[in-house]
């Protein structure tokens, strides 16, 4: 058991089973569908309200994603803690300035380039999640498990745009 917890990498089937149980627990015990992207909107709303209150006076922040420290924010915080515990247990934890070997092979050593793409990609990703009503966790899995059609439209769309983008970025190295 301890050996398993210390293992660097689990089979995706085992890790997926654990996450599936998390969904069951969370839905059964509290009626909460786990998600990650909503938390950024809750925090973003808080910041916007502090900087310029007019920004959050609209339907979206009033009804869809109210600003505040919600359960989603706690869950996001937990994701960091859980991943940290996992990495520490397996001795996998290290600080690094991001470009990992695969990125370096294709796009070179520049750290700034990596950070810029990660930052811009993050904005695009979160914007998309806001429009779709969730991300891979909240919509694709959280909706998919109830066979909500939106979840499967989202998963398909994610690959329809993700594959050409990867193709464009990697070109001949695809």
């Amino acid at each position: 058991m301890i050996g398993l917890l210390k293992k660097k990498e689990w089979s995706p089937y085992l890790a997926g089973t654990l996450l599936g149980l998390v969904y069951v627990c969370s839905i059964a015990a509290a009626g909460i569908i786990p998600g990650a992207s909503g938390a950024f909107e809750n925090i973003g709303g808080l910041i916007a309200r502090a900087v310029h209150p007019e920004l959050v006076k609209n339907t979206y922040f009033r009804f869809v994603m109210p600003p505040g420290i919600t359960t989603a924010v706690m869950m996001l915080l937990g994701i960091f803690i859980g991943a940290f515990i996992s990495a520490r247990l397996s001795g996998d934890f290290k600080l690094q300035s991001v470009p990992d070997p695969q990125w370096k092979r294709v796009f070179g050593d520049s750290i700034w380039k990596r950070w810029l793409i990660a930052f811009l990609g993050g904005i695009v990703l979160e914007f998309g999640a806001g429009i779709a009503g969730g991300c891979t966790s909240g919509l694709a899995i959280g909706g998919g498990l109830f066979l909500a059609p939106g979840a499967f439209i989202f998963i398909a769309a994610m690959f329809i745009s993700g594959i050409p983008v990867a193709l464009l970025m990697y070109r001949r190295k695809y």
């Binding site: 998390v22 859980g82 991943a83 990609g121 990703l125 909240g138 899995i141």
Partner: protein, 93 residues
């Protein structure tokens, strides 16, 4: 309050599973779009299957009621998904 702590614990288990599956790494995320490593899909589909069986078993046994199910609005899900995919493939997160 207890709901907050519960979410924190659930989130920790969530993060633990993600890290153990290696999904905190750039190459795992981007390679699913290159079809060289399908760990993301294996992970996602396993989660779907397990949670589906678990939730509906509990519902059929009359132990739980279903929460509000994420809404389907075709244009939003589709456009959002397309934009999301661009960010995911580019950033690799």
């Amino acid at each position: 309050m207890s709901e907050m702590i519960f979410s924190l614990v659930m989130g920790s288990a969530f993060g633990f599973a993600l890290q153990k599956a290696g999904l905190s790494k750039y190459n795992k995320i981007v390679n699913v779009f290159r079809f060289t490593d399908l760990a993301v899909l294996k992970f996602m589909m396993t989660t779907l299957a397990v949670s589906m069986v678990g939730v509906f078993a509990l519902k059929s046994a009359g132990i739980i009621a279903l929460p509000a199910i994420p809404a389907t609005y075709v244009v939003g899900n589709l456009m959002g998904g397309l934009i999301f995919g661009i960010g995911m493939a580019a950033a690799g997160f």
